[in-house]
Symmetry: D2
C-alpha cells in the first residue's frame, strides 16, 4: 500500500533562510518517520482579509527560494497559483501546482494548470459540496492531466466558521484520485478576528486523527518553528516541535485502516 | 483504560421475540470482541415524520420486553423517555434513561430523569453547539446525578441534512463525562424522503472511524438483522451480519488513541 | 382581504398586574391601528438555557391570569403548552394553543392540541425545512382540526445563530393555512451569552419588514415596557414605546402586497 | 431621496443582436417606470460548473457589443472582470466593474479595479459574513475609490443551497455605500443539477420584495426574453414579459420605506 504523505511548510515564504531552515527540519522529521514529504510555502497570499497584511516575497523571488529548497534538499515543492500568467513560471519550479479554494471554479486557471502536466492539487471551495468536485476533476482530466489531488479544507458553516464533513473523503476518493486533508486551514475561523482570520489550533489533532481514520492519502499542515511570530496564519499553525509526536499518532491510525 | 462501549439494538421494539433475538446476537458479537454492550430499543417513537408511521408497542409492553432482555441475558438496557410521567416506570426497568435530541432542552424532563439516580444519556440537539451542552450537563448535575453520558448525533446543516462536527467530541469530553457517537442517526437525512427520513448507511463506517479516532467512550448504532424490513429507520440501520467486522476495525482504532 | 394580525405580549407572565398592564397597552395600540391582536404570554418557560433561569408562575396561576386578561379586555389569548397533561386545562382558557419549536415533532402533543378544536399555532423547529411542515400540518388536520397557524422563527445557521429564510413563507402558505413571522425569537442568538440566549433587537424591524413584504398573515413579537428589566428574552424584546411606529410601517408594507 | 435602481440583462452576451434587443426592451420598461437602469451582461462566464458549458463571446467581442449598447441607447453598462489583465480594457468601456463573488477576496483584482476610478460593484462571497465586507470595502477605499456598490447574492447554507440573510442589508449599508440585492443568483441551487446549477425562479419575487422592504439601493436581476432558451442561468432568469409588473410592486414597497 501507499504511505500517508505529508504536505507541510510555513504558510508564507518569510525569507530564504527561514524557508530552508523549516524545510530541512521537516525533512529530518519525515525521514525519521518514513513519511514522504512535499514542502509547501506560498510566495504570495493573494486573498488576505486585510489590505495591510503581509503577502510574501512575490512570485519571482518566491520561486527562486522554492527552487533552492528543491535543489539543496531534493524534496518536491508545492505552492499556490492565482492567475494564468503565473502558471508557466510556477510550473518551471513547482512539482505540485495548487489551486486555492476560492479559485477552484475558475475554469481557465484550472485548465492552464492542468495543461502543464504537473500534479494539480485543487482545494475544495468552502462553498462546494464534495460531489461538486466531480466537475472540477472533469476540467483537469479533460485537459489531459490525470495527476490530480483533491484537498478538503472545510465547508462554510454559518458565519466565520468552517466544519469538516468527514463524508467528503469517501465521496472525493471515489473519483479515483488521492485525497488530502488540510488540517490547519480547516480550523480557521474566517474573518473571525475582524481584520484577520482566527484559528483553533487545539482542534488540528482531533480533525487530523478523524480524517486519517476515514482513510485518506495525505495530510496538509502549515507549520512554524514559532507560530506566535508567523507572518501569516499563526493562530492555526502547528509548532514544529509538536509535529513528530502528532505525525506518529496519525501514522498509527493510518496503519489500521490502510 | 476503559473499553469502548457499544450501545446498540433495533431502532424500535418490533416484537418480544425479535427483540430477544437481536439482543442475544448482539451479546454474542460483543462477547466475542470483549466489548461492553448496552442494549437499546425504543418502546415509542414519539416524533416520527408522519402521523401514519409505526411507533412501537407503547411504554408498558415495551418496558416488559426490555426487562425480559435484561433478566434473560444480563445486559443493561437503554430506551428513550418522552415525558415526566414516563420517568418513574422507565427507571424501574432501564439502566440508562435517554433524553431524545429534540427534548434535550426540556428542563423538567432532564431533571426528572436525573433525580432517579440512573445513568442519563442526553443526545445533543441538532440545533445546539457542543458548548451549549455545558448547561444541559449543569441541569443534570445540579439535580445530584453525576451519571451522565453525552451523545453526538449531528448538527443541522442546511435543510434535510446533518453534519458531524468532530470538534464536538473534545469539547463535550472536557465536561468530564463519557461521550458517545450515535453513528446511525448522524447519517439520517431528516425528512429527506418526504414522509420519512432518509439515511446514508454507506457513511456509518466513515463517521464511526473518524469519531473513534478522536477518542470517545462509546459508539451508538441502530442495527437490524434485515434493515430492509425494519419498521423504523431502516435506511440508516446496520445489518447485524456486518457488525462484527465493523466493530473490530473501530476497536483497532480505539486501541491507538486510548 | 384579511388584516395583518399581531400576536404580542411579554415573553413570560411576570405578575398579574404587569400582564394586565401590558395587555391593555397593547390593546390601545392595536385599536389605534385597526390591527387585530392576540395576546401572548407564557406561564412556564420549559426550555431555558440554564436551570437557574426564571420560568414563570406555572400553569395554574398563569392560566388564571390569562383568563383575567381575556375577560377584562375581551381579547384572545395564546400561550405555549409543553405536555399532553397541559392540553385540557390550557384549552379551557386559551384561544390559541402554541406548540413550541423544539416540540413541533412530538406527535402526541400536536395531536392532543389538535383534538381540542382550538386554534393550534405550530412553530417551525429550527432544525426543519419549510416543506417538512407539511407533515406537521398533516398531523393536525388528520386529527380533525383545520384551525392551524404556522410560525417561522428562524433556522439553525452554524452555531449560536439563526437565519430567516424568506422562501419559507410562500412554501408554508401553500399548505392553505395562515403563516406568522416570529420577529423576536428569530433574532435570538441561541445560547449566545453562555448561560442565556443573546438577541439582536436591532434586526427585528429589518426582518419584520422583509417578512411582511413577502405576504404573510401575522407578526409575532415579544414586547416589554422596559426590556432591560424583562425576566426572560429581554435582549430581543421590543420596547412598547417603539411598537406603534413599527407596526404602522409594517401595515403600510402589508397594504402594498395584500 | 434616491430612486431604486435596476441592474439587469441576460446572464451572458449571446449575440450582438440579442444583446441590443434585450437592452432596448429593458430601457423601455425602465423609462416607463421612471427607474434608473444599468445594463448587465457577461462577456465570459469564467466559473461555470462544467467545462463544456457556454462561456460567452470573450472579452474583446463582448466589450465591443457592450460599447454599442452604451452608445446606441445611452445607458450605463456593467460586466464582471476576472483577472487584472482585463481591468484596463474593461474600464475603457464599462461604467461599473463587477467583482464576482468567488473573487471578492482577491486583493489584486479588487485594487486594480478600484484604481480605475470606475464604480466597483463587489458581490459578497457565499462564504463571507456581511461584516466581512468591511475589509473588502477597505481595500477599495484604500485605493482611493469611493465609488463602491456592495451586492448580496446569498450565503452557503448546507450543500447546493443558498440562503439570503436579510440582516446583511443593514449591516452592509452601515458602511456608507449603496447596497444591491442580486435576486436571481440568490435563488440558484449551486451545482444542484449535477453538471449545472439549478434555480428557483419562483422565489425571485419573494426575496426581492423582502430585500426591497428592508431598504436597499438597487435590485439586480438576470432577465431573458425566453429563459428556457437562455445559454446560461436560464433556470433562475426572469422572463422579460413578467418584469414590468414585478418592478412596479418593488417600487411600491420601496416607496413605503424610503
Amino acid at each position: 500500500g501507499r504511505l500517508l504523505v505529508l504536505i507541510a511548510g510555513p504558510c508564507v515564504i518569510e525569507s530564504e533562510e527561514a524557508t530552508l531552515r523549516h524545510a530541512e527540519r521537516l525533512m529530518t522529521i519525515c525521514n525519521g518517520l518514513g513519511m514522504p514529504l512535499i514542502f509547501k510555502s506560498s510566495y504570495d497570499k493573494a486573498n488576505r482579509t486585510s489590505i495591510n497584511a503581509f503577502r510574501g516575497p512575490g512570485m519571482d523571488e518566491g520561486l527562486r527560494i522554492l527552487s533552492k529548497v528543491k535543489e539543496s534538499l531534493g524534496i518536491p515543492v508545492l505552492s499556490d497559483i492565482h492567475s494564468i500568467e503565473q502558471v508557466a513560471p510556477a510550473a518551471q519550479v513547482l512539482d505540485v501546482l495548487q489551486i486555492p479554494a476560492f479559485l477552484c471554479r475558475q475554469t481557465d486557471l484550472v485548465v492552464a494548470a492542468a495543461k502543464t502536466g504537473k500534479v494539480v492539487n485543487v482545494k475544495k471551495g468552502q462553498f462546494l459540496a464534495p460531489w461538486d468536485m466531480r466537475n472540477v476533476v472533469g476540467k483537469v482530466a479533460a485537459s489531459g492531466n490525470e495527476n490530480i489531488i483533491l484537498t478538503e479544507r472545510g465547508a462554510s458553516f454559518g458565519y466565520n466558521n468552517l466544519v469538516v464533513d468527514m463524508r467528503s473523503f469517501p465521496v472525493m476518493r471515489s473519483y479515483g484520485y488521492p485525497v488530502v486533508f488540510d488540517a490547519t486551514h480547516s480550523v480557521q475561523l474566517p474573518g473571525g478576528q475582524g481584520e484577520s482570520s482566527g484559528g483553533q489550533r487545539e482542534f488540528v489533532e482531533t480533525l487530523s486523527r478523524a480524517a486519517v481514520a476515514t482513510g485518506i492519502d495525505g495530510i496538509f499542515m502549515e507549520v512554524h518553528e514559532d507560530p506566535s511570530c508567523a507572518l501569516c496564519d499563526g493562530p492555526n499553525s502547528i509548532p514544529l516541535a509538536e509535529l513528530p509526536a502528532l505525525l506518529k499518532r496519525l501514522q498509527a491510525l493510518d496503519a489500521v485502516v490502510r
